[in-house]
């Protein structure tokens, strides 16, 4: 977002993410506003934003493996479950503090992700997508049939605390979740423009050509799965400690499909796209939640509680519309807007 006539005068400026003092001002005031938000936001908005931020973290991970590295993964919900359960088991059964369990759960999910991503070394495209669906079901089955994960009852992780201060409400968790989200976004934004990120894009665009150019495909695919599942694990851990109950019901295949839908609508291969996609899907869902009782009253055929089914229909229709008319997602629209703003008084 730069107005017409602002140019980069050095290489350092050209590769910077934040280029002008206006950007700094906007960024800093936005961050201050974000962290002051619990003081005046309503409970509903705050818990909704927590949910959004956790979805953004999962979405960022999926963006790295699917959007940048081109390996479509339907297993994100399962890796989130691994993170949530790891964190819960570590805090409940082994008495770890949340602050140690959080990174450990990310690493645990990442390590399982490397195993889960192993099929990607031989297969790709929708074969891999099916393999990740299989991994999802195997992981959830293991969780349901293991002693340590509390089987069908699930686990009840305690809220985190720091020096006697308990983060036991949504408003208090808001600070932890937002801090983690900002750090994770910054890390993702930087990762994808580093050597690693370029290797991912090479694999996505043409893996054979990438291999010929000297990209170690096995290494980078495993790395992509590790990073992606690390994000999912962190998000899962936050989620578990936010709502203080973890069970397999929260991590169904439908959740994993939702994240892929967010990427399609937001735009594959774009970090802002994750934010657009998450906002679009979650707000669409809330709208359906609010309007479905009215619809049910107006059209008795729909039955008493059509919210879940109508949500599916709305989600599917949105996906169809985006796939046909804007396959590059909202992020592409945003790029077009930025480009035209940069040229503003002139036509081109």
């Amino acid at each position: 977002m730069r107005p017409c006539g602002v140019f980069d005068k050095s290489y350092g400026l050209d590769i910077a993410i934040i280029r002008t003092w206006q950007h700094w001002a906007i960024l800093i005031s936005a961050l201050i506003l974000l962290f002051l938000f619990p003081l005046f936001g309503s409970y509903y908005i705050i818990s909704f934003m927590n949910y959004l931020a956790i979805s953004v973290i999962v979405g960022l991970g999926l963006q790295i493996v699917s959007g940048y590295c081109g390996q479509i993964s339907f297993g994100q919900a399962a890796f989130m479950a691994i993170g949530a359960y790891t964190s819960a088991v570590l805090t409940i059964k082994f008495g770890f503090s949340f602050w140690i369990a959080l990174p450990l759960s990310g690493i645990m999910a990442g390590l399982v992700g490397i195993i889960g991503g192993a099929p990607s070394l031989r297969i790709k495209g929708m074969y891999l997508a099916m393999a990740t669906i299989a991994i999802h079901f195997v992981v959830i089955w293991l969780i349901l049939h293991m002693e340590i994960t509390g089987s069908f009852k699930g686990l009840f992780p305690p809220p985190p605390s720091l020096g006697g201060f308990e983060f036991d409400t949504d408003e208090r968790m808001f600070y932890i979740i937002m801090t983690v989200m900002v750090i994770m976004t910054y890390a993702a934004r930087n990762l994808v423009r580093s050597k690693v990120g370029r290797a991912f894009v090479a694999i996505r665009d043409n893996d054979l050509a990438g291999e010929v150019m000297g990209v170690n495909i096995y290494h980078y695919k495993s790395l992509a799965f590790f990073v992606s599942c690390f994000y999912a694990g962190i998000a899962g851990s936050l989620w578990g400690h936010l709502i203080t109950v973890v069970n397999a019901e929260q991590f169904t295949l439908m959740h994993a499909l939702e994240y892929i839908g967010m990427l399609i609508i937001g735009g594959m291969g774009s970090i802002p796209g994750v934010f657009f996609g998450v906002l679009f899907i979650r707000i669409l869902n809330e709208l359906v939640m609010f309007t479905s009782p009215l619809l049910a009253k107006a059209v008795p055929w729909l039955g008493s509680s059509p919210a879940a089914a109508l949500g599916l229909v709305a989600f599917g229709l949105a996906l169809i519309i985006f796939l046909i008319f804007e396959p590059r997602g909202l992020a592409h629209r945003w790029e077009i807007f930025k480009a035209s703003y940069r040229l503003y008084p002139f036509a081109y």
Binding site: M130, A131, G316, L319
Partner: protein, 294 residues
């Protein structure tokens, strides 16, 4: 031994359902190279339409089955015309994701219609069990099984000997070359979706014959997809063989492993098989190995 055979035969009967669903998916893949996630819903809608005419309106079997065919074929045609045709020329993964979107929409409509209830087909096939030296086979399931075998034979013959089947195979090989020899590729796409929807209706009726129509029914599409991939996506024979095998593995595995691990083997066996097959033979047991070029 008798018990093992009994479990295997029961599994085979279920497996023939998987094979039918897989056949519908393989048909679409053979001509268009699109892998469909939405076929479970086509199966469910086929069963539902059949129920509407047989159970709801009380029509006799041979009258009720045709409107079910026509309505489901219409859904298949609409899917092809409205959602997949605009994607011609885009990467195949876009079409795969499109079928996933269709999966969501149809799933939503299906759940909306059922509202958490179940529908049971009235018995339209002879009841009773066939007893072969200690192994009992329900006659209605046996009829479904034989119908599946018959359908597979018919499909193979269509692909091998008819002109339209030849056109479909040519289209699968190369769209432009097929167009060059005078085949209307767009029509082939429509035909294949109609044919595939008809197979899905047969699968749906055979499935509803064994279990109730309820909200989990569309998930047989995932089992069908697993079978199609394990058998090799372009092989009807693979779909049949692996479908029957998967039914046997699930049933026998559940019978012998459930006591050891505490139940639930049936839910996960298919996924473990899929992972193993993908790791050992990524193109499926009967699939054509394709060599990639840059």
């Amino acid at each position: 031994m008798i018990e093992f055979l009994q479990q295997a035969i029961t599994g085979m009967m279920i497996g023939s359902l998987y094979a039918l669903v897989a056949a519908a998916i393989v048909l679409v893949y053979k001509a268009t190279h699109v892998v469909s996630l939405a076929h479970g819903q086509l199966v469910a809608f086929g069963a539902l339409f059949f129920w509407l005419f047989i159970g709801g309106l009380g029509l006799p079997f041979w009258v009720g089955i045709f409107p079910a065919f026509i309505l489901t074929a219409l859904i298949g045609l609409l899917i092809e015309r409205l959602t997949l045709r605009p994607l011609i020329g885009q990467p195949l993964i876009a079409a795969f994701l499109m079928t996933f979107a269709i999966f969501l929409v149809l799933e939503g409509v299906f759940v909306l219609y059922l509202k958490g209830e179940t529908r049971t087909l009235p018995a339209f096939l002879p009841e009773g069990n066939l007893d072969i030296s200690g192994i009992s086979v329900p006659i209605n399931q046996l009829i479904g099984f034989l119908a599946a075998l018959f359908l597979f034979a018919a499909l193979s013959l269509i692909f091998k000997y008819t002109k339209i089947g030849l056109g479909m195979r040519a289209t699968a090989e190369d769209h432009r070359l097929a167009q060059g020899t005078g085949i209307t590729v767009r029509n082939i796409f429509s035909y294949i979706w109609v044919l595939s929807a008809i197979v899905a209706v047969v699968a749906g009726i055979a499935t509803a014959n064994v279990m109730d129509i309820y909200y989990m029914l569309p998930y047989i599409g995932i089992s069908g997809l697993i079978v199609a991939i394990c058998g090799g996506l372009d092989s009807l024979l693979g779909a049949l063989v692996v479908g029957l095998l998967l039914g046997v593995v699930e049933n026998v595995g559940a019978a012998y492993l459930d006591p050891l691990v505490g139940g639930g083997v049936k839910d996960v066996a298919a996924y473990v098989v899929l992972l193993l097959v993908l790791l050992i033979r990524p193109y499926g047991l009967f699939g054509l190995v394709r060599i990639e070029r840059i």
